[in-house]
């Protein structure tokens, strides 16, 4: 039985390349390349696997900016059929993101919504619950395994101390973990075709938001001694002493 799947994808700056100014502790975000957020990739991969098995259509939604087309093209190359970029994203505010995205979701018939459980850079994990409440669809969170059968989803949820297997009727919202799959690297042909495919770009509708005031955003200062030896022999001698002391 084919299913209509919505997958939520976020674009982020490449946090692995992010450097922090050592004197002021401020992050150097300017000029960093943008990329598809890690968990969003797992979400796309899971959607594509469901489509490959059961058939259907995948629609991706990204609340981003005009620059988010590269993220959408990557999702297309992996197997997404249609994409919407809602422009106007200025930063992480889960309530606002949930509001904007839920409005778009309501326009699209769907059986399953897939998103990441916690996005790699902001790490809030708030979108899943917000959407579940706004759209009144049950949340199966932190999935490490998804099975689809006769309009129901059975999901293995990875909790801290146990896994629980849970089942709900569609429409459902599924948030995925990093372990659920290894996102594919699409072949060159698919990337080329994806590059030519139409992307729907619409301005997101929302009232401006200034409820959260950022007081500071700097690298954490650690209280550790940070004595780092580049001279290995010296380091080994010193550290052996520290270990012997610590074993007492």
């Amino acid at each position: 039985m084919p299913y209509n799947i919505i997958v939520l994808i976020k674009q982020i700056v490449d946090i692995d390349l992010l450097k922090v100014d050592s004197s002021t502790g401020t992050p150097q975000v300017q000029g960093l390349p943008l990329r598809l957020e890690n968990l969003s990739k797992n979400a796309v991969e899971e959607a594509v696997r469901i489509k490959e098995k059961h058939g259907g259509k995948i629609t991706a939604i990204c609340f981003g900016t005009e620059k988010s087309t590269s993220a959408m093209k990557e999702a297309y190359a992996m197997g997404v059929d249609e994409g919407y970029i809602l422009t106007g994203y200025t930063g992480n505010n889960p309530s606002l993101t949930a509001d904007v995205i839920s409005k778009k979701i309501r326009e699209i018939p769907h059986d399953i919504i897939i998103l990441g459980n916690q996005s790699a850079e902001s790490y809030t994990g708030m979108l899943q619950g917000k959407l579940s409440s706004i759209l009144e669809e049950p949340l199966l969170s932190d999935a490490v395994k998804v099975e689809i059968n006769e309009r129901s989803a059975t999901v293995t949820m990875a909790l801290e101390n146990e896994n629980i297997v849970a089942k709900a009727q569609m429409p459902v919202i599924i948030s995925v973990t990093q372990e659920i799959n290894d996102p594919r690297f699409p072949p060159v042909m698919q990337i080329m075709t994806a590059g030519r495919k139409k992307i729907n770009i619409e301005a997101a509708q929302f009232s401006p938001d200034d409820k959260i005031e950022v007081l500071s955003n700097t690298a954490p200062r650690s209280e550790r001694k940070k004595t780092v030896f580049e001279d290995q022999e010296k380091g080994i001698t010193e550290i052996a002493k520290v270990i012997r002391e610590g074993m007492k």
Partner: protein, 296 residues
């Protein structure tokens, strides 16, 4: 002021009670099986939600609780279940939420919090109207009080989700939380067959062996119960020796309580060197044998 604490995890419950009871009257709602673990941490009352399992049902039950009490803040432990609950509750109650906080204060009627950003590379300090918070593990060292909290059983709301099965994660015999020396390995180890090369050091230092998430969860080179980090064990040994671990914040979150941290990594700019007391820049396979020798 009143603060309702929720967690499905007993450690987080008592950490949050200890932290928030300093500035507010605390109440605890929890789904933990054994309430006796949490009843000595100063909660004015414990609401025991025995059979609620899923975020939607727990949020519904909490919504009812909140409507009959006056809670200035609702603080929720950041677990898989907790994060889902917080998002739902924030929308249902029309109260703003701030996620993954590691510090909290009130300033001029506003909420000031700290949380990690950019995957842990920076700390964001924000002032907001948030009155629902999700709280990272490790916010305090739990401290008992002498009186016991009164416990009230709360039956849970109807669920649209069916629980098919619970699968306990296979846990071994290691008790990392009690270890006084831990040698922890990361992806820098390269492959599973290299682990025996580390074992002489583990022995010489009377240590327990642990690992980063990729080692325990993705590759299964060590068992899952040896994973240190945000989604693994929170450890506080006297010595934590990190070998070939880059020091991503999710890992640091699990070992921050260590007294002394030693790191060996071949990349001079690895973030672990910002989180260690002593470090050596170099290849673990060159350094570890010499270090082991020096310990004998």
């Amino acid at each position: 002021m009143n603060c309702l604490v929720f967690s499905d995890n007993s450690d987080l419950s008592i950490q949050m009670l200890t932290y928030f009871r300093k500035s507010m009257d605390t109440y605890l709602a929890t789904t933990v099986n054994d309430v006796s673990i949490v009843e000595n941490y100063g909660a004015k009352k414990i609401f025991h939600m025995k059979d609620a399992v899923f975020p939607n049902d727990i949020a519904k039950t909490l919504e009812n609780l909140v409507s009959s009490g006056n809670y200035d803040y609702i603080v929720i432990g950041s677990t898989a279940i907790g994060r889902g609950v917080a998002g739902i509750l924030s929308h249902k109650l029309k109260r703003e939420v701030m996620a993954e906080i590691s510090e909290f204060r009130i300033d001029g009627g506003k909420t000031v919090t700290k949380r990690f950003f950019y995957g842990g590379k920076t700390v964001l300090e924000e002032k907001s109207d948030a009155t629902i918070l999700t709280v990272m593990p490790g916010i305090s060292d739990p401290e008992k009080v002498s009186e016991k909290s009164q416990v009230e059983d709360i039956s849970s709301a109807e669920s649209a989700i069916t629980l098919v099965e619970k699968k306990e994660k296979k846990s071994g015999t290691v008790d990392l939380e009690k270890a006084s020396v831990i040698v922890s390995i990361g992806r820098g180890i390269g492959s599973q067959d290299k682990i025996p090369l580390i074992e002489p050091l583990v022995k010489a230092a009377h240590a327990e062996l642990a690992g980063s998430r990729p080692i325990c969860l993705d590759y299964h080179w060590l068992s899952e119960d040896r994973q240190v980090g945000l989604s693994g064990k929170k450890v506080k040994p006297k010595l934590y020796i990190a070998l070939g671990i880059s020091g991503q914040i999710q890992h640091i979150a699990g070992m921050r309580g260590s007294k002394t941290v030693i790191a060996i990594n071949k990349d001079k700019s690895a973030p672990i060197f910002e989180e260690c007391d002593y470090g050596i820049v170099g290849d673990i396979f060159q350094i570890v044998p010499k270090l082991t020798e020096a310990l004998k």
